[in-house]
């Protein structure tokens, strides 16, 4: 019996390991752009619960800043844009197993992602901020010493915390939940004292529930949003970059940003 358990655990671990390592197609010619054109669609993977970048409206249509931009880019490439809601935890798997062509959903640039994927030029700047209840009396990050902070699991908010060792260590506890709304709920019911999340997203909720939350002035980290493609698919990446630059020149990116975020946060030159 014991042996059986061991064997099954081993098999399971092997399987998970296998799931984790993708094939490397380093020697293959880069046909990524042609592939997209051939099949006539660009499949965009997103966590459709990430307002205002990509989310579902009351009519269950996926909308947002990223969606508007992606639609225009696909249009310019000459292909259809196909939106595929995925589990954010599984985004790397979705990309590696070719279920999606790109991750385009407030995807933050970092060193790890840079080494594992082909990334577009940064198109929007974002910061990690802390949100507290308006009447909490907390005004600075220092005020959060000995308090509890909650954030979304597998998000860059948790990376930002790692970069701010000192702040992180000053906390009593760091809680991770499944999504940002759950984090905000946790804050609202007193389960925690602050939420760390993307500024872009934070502004959406502060706007949504007027008077409930406030964003602390000090930011935890500066970061940039990029689009993630499969490693080696540079032709497709370059094509998207080209269209982003064009759209920036035409003022289209700024316009879309105004529409969803209320100001121009785009950084494409």
């Amino acid at each position: 019996m014991k042996k059986m358990t061991k064997i099954s655990v081993l098999i399971l671990m092997m399987a998970i390991l296998l799931m984790g390592c993708g094939k490397s197609d380093a020697n293959k010619a880069d046909t990524s752009l042609q592939d997209i054109k051939d099949k006539g669609s660009l499949v965009l993977g997103l966590d459709d619960a990430f307002p205002p970048m990509g989310f579902k409206n009351d009519d269950q249509e996926i909308v947002g800043f990223d969606i508007d931009v992606a639609k225009e880019v696909a249009n310019r490439i000459g292909v259809e844009l196909e939106l595929t809601p995925i589990s954010w935890d599984a985004k790397e798997q979705e990309l590696a197993t070719k279920h999606i062509d790109c991750i385009w959903n407030g995807f933050t640039k970092n060193a790890d992602r840079e080494s594992k994927m082909a990334l577009s030029i940064p198109y929007m700047k974002n910061t990690q901020v802390a949100i507290v209840l308006t009447d909490s009396g907390i005004n600075t990050l220092e005020d959060l010493a000995g308090k509890t902070v909650v954030l979304q699991n597998a998000s860059t908010a948790s990376d930002a915390m790692d970069q701010n060792e000192e702040f992180k260590n000053s906390l009593k506890e760091l809680i991770k939940v499944d999504d940002n709304v759950q984090a905000l709920m946790d804050l609202k019911v007193g389960g925690s004292d602050a939420v760390v999340m993307d500024e872009v997203v934070a502004r959406y909720y502060v706007e949504k529930e007027q008077g409930t939350y406030k964003v602390l002035d000090t930011t935890l980290s500066e970061e940039e949003y990029v689009i993630g493609f499969r490693k080696g698919e540079n032709a497709l990446t370059e094509e998207v970059n080209k269209h982003l630059k064009d759209m920036a020149k035409e003022g289209l990116l700024a316009e879309i940003s105004e529409k969803w975020v209320g100001k121009d946060l785009t950084i494409v030159e």
Binding site: A15, I16, M19, Q60, N180, K208
Partner: protein, 216 residues
């Protein structure tokens, strides 16, 4: 949330509930017979059949369904270079997972049958399959109705897990709408839908138990 938004969401939830129903019925369609097969394998006198089946039952019941969903959707890509469509992968995983539980429930029912029933059937000349189909199975079904009711109700709720491989269903609809509206209302509504579906399931089992109560 505004009343209009709630009303709209209500309509979408009805559609999403149909998806839950689809997963529920398809999973049962495959897992109920597969479970019986696994049950026979588990009770086989040949170790070459019995032991692999035992391993299957152990793995399926011993690992989280959510992990199995990930596994069956993504893993085939690394082996054969392609994967099943999301919905198919979800049905496949739920089916082989639930078949494992059903197998053990069947086995419990079959092994609880008194030996005398087999002997009476044997001396009357019934062959093995007649004995099973005419004598044993009908009595087993009556005995396993309560634990089966448990599993059926759990399945309704477990359909919420398939969203991890991107299959849109009720729970995902609720959490997505929650993100967009920053309101917990969608969750409460989804809860009501799951409850309503399980009320139907439990009523169904109540009816079946009543139907079977003509004998003791």
């Amino acid at each position: 949330m505004s009343p209009e938004a709630i009303l709209k969401l209500l309509q979408y939830m009805i559609t999403a509930s149909a998806m839950v129903g689809k997963i529920f019925f398809l999973t049962l369609l495959f897992s109920l017979p597969l479970g019986l097969l696994a049950c026979f394998g588990r009770m086989s006198k040949w170790a070459i059949i019995r032991e692999p089946v035992k391993l299957y039952l152990l793995i399926m019941r011993g690992t989280p369904l959510i992990l199995q969903l990930f596994f069956f959707f993504y893993f085939p890509y690394y082996v054969i270079g392609t994967t099943l469509p999301r919905f198919h992968a979800a049905i496949l995983t739920c089916s082989i997972n639930y078949a494992a539980y059903f197998a053990e429930i069947y086995r419990g029912g079959i092994e609880s049958m008194p030996k005398g029933q087999y002997e009476a059937a044997k001396v009357l000349g019934f062959n093995k399959s007649q004995t099973f189909i005419k004598i044993i199975l009908p009595q087993v079904i009556k005995r396993i109705l309560p634990p089966m009711g448990n599993e059926f109700m759990t399945l309704v709720k477990d359909t919420a897990l398939v969203s991890v491989i991107g299959v849109a269903e009720l729970y995902q609809l609720a959490t997505d709408t929650m993100s967009q509206s920053a309101s917990t209302m969608p969750l409460v509504m989804a809860g009501a839908f799951y409850l309503a579906m399980n009320i139907i399931v439990s009523k169904g089992f109540e009816f079946a138990e009543k139907k079977m109560s003509y004998y003791r």
